[in-house]
Symmetry: C2
Subunit: 228 residues, 2 copies
């Protein structure tokens, strides 16, 4: 089974603050109330509040200066891709934009993987593709599918592609339950994905690019019509 969900006070406080910020209740550039006051307002200790602040600062949402205060960063302008998970959770319209980028980058990755993938990596791809067909539940199919894409990214030989892929998946996985359309039928999912793996396996760079683009376009369509 799954491990997981513990909700500590800091977790809750962090989400609460994040929501307040993303919803614009604390505009970019504005200063938050002093820690002592804010902590009292939320009914927590200053220490606890600071833990939440620390995380949000690390995420790029806040910026604190000793002796001055804590201010909301202009994350829409300067923020990095690690904000995506929280942005997607906060506003589903981001999903479409994520998909568009995912499609372009997915095609790039398939192309590179076809050129650079090692024999070992191609074999791994085939094995992981098989796992998609064998997966028992739609959820498992979805996760198996993700693993194939991670392996594709690794096969580019460029670790930055792996990180980017993870970033995009991190944005997508938390809301994946709503996007399960393409994975209800393991056989069909396997059929859609297979051409990509085959083209990469054959070292067919143009073919891999086209197959990846087609795969991502199909999957995206099915996901979004389920969302409507």
């Amino acid at each position: 089974m799954e491990a997981l969900p513990r909700e500590t006070i800091v977790d809750v406080l962090e989400s609460r603050l994040r929501e307040d910020i993303l919803a614009g209740r604390h505009p970019a550039g504005s200063y938050l109330p002093p820690e002592r006051q804010l902590a009292q307002g939320y009914g927590v200790t200053r220490t606890t509040l600071k833990h939440a602040f620390g995380r949000l600062a690390q995420a790029g949402l806040l910026e604190t200066r000793h002796g001055v205060g804590t201010r909301v960063r202009d994350f829409a302008r300067l923020g990095g891709a690690d904000l995506l998970p929280m942005l997607v959770r906060h506003d589903a319209r981001w999903v479409r934009e994520v998909f568009e980028v995912r499609r372009s980058i997915g095609a790039l990755i398939a192309e590179r993987a076809a050129v650079r993938g090692t024999v070992r990596q191609r074999a791994e791809l085939t094995a992981l593709l098989g796992a998609v067909r064998e997966a028992a539940s739609p959820d498992a199919v979805q996760l198996a599918d993700v693993e194939v894409h991670r392996a594709l990214a690794r096969a580019t030989g460029n670790r930055v592609y792996v990180l980017l892929t993870n970033t995009l998946f991190n944005a997508y996985l938390p809301v994946r339950a709503a996007l399960r359309g393409p994975f209800t039928d393991a056989e069909a999912a396997h059929r859609r994905l297979a051409p990509v793996v085959e083209a990469v396996g054959a070292g067919d760079c143009e073919g891999a690019k086209a197959a990846a683009d087609a795969y991502l376009r199909d999957t995206e369509r099915i996901m979004l019509e389920g969302l409507s």
Copy 2:
């Protein structure tokens, strides 16, 4: 002048821990020593240590479970692009991989911007390009150059491209002093970048892609030869 450098204990402790993790002194999957023991080892309070832990957990390097312990995540496999800045700082070999990806994605962005950029955005690009030529110091040229690329990302109409661009810049800007080669001559920098802005302004999608690729290739070459 710049604002900046405060080094709090938590900052130092965080870097120290991060180094220890990235260098593999705490292998992925292994548990860190208990907080009380570790805090004593570093000569700080447990509270302070926990602040540092919080940041690293947010960054995806650690994973804490109540009653069990704190464990090092397999960030190389599962980490997101937000790790890039620390990875680059820790090992310069990442820079080359970042550049390769930057080149591919930069071409994508230019292509989209040519198709989708609004009149207003094209005008902004021209203005920002002008600022590159006018910049007084190499450092200013470099930052003006970055602003042009941010604007290009905005012109795609897809906010995810903006975030990705920021992520890649976040990886690059902390070490930018070592990569100033292309920006010592403002006039030359302007000359290299101009074709991209022009093609985007003209709505020439193929041309923009080619120009961006050429620009990024040139810049990258100059940077890396300065690096040896």
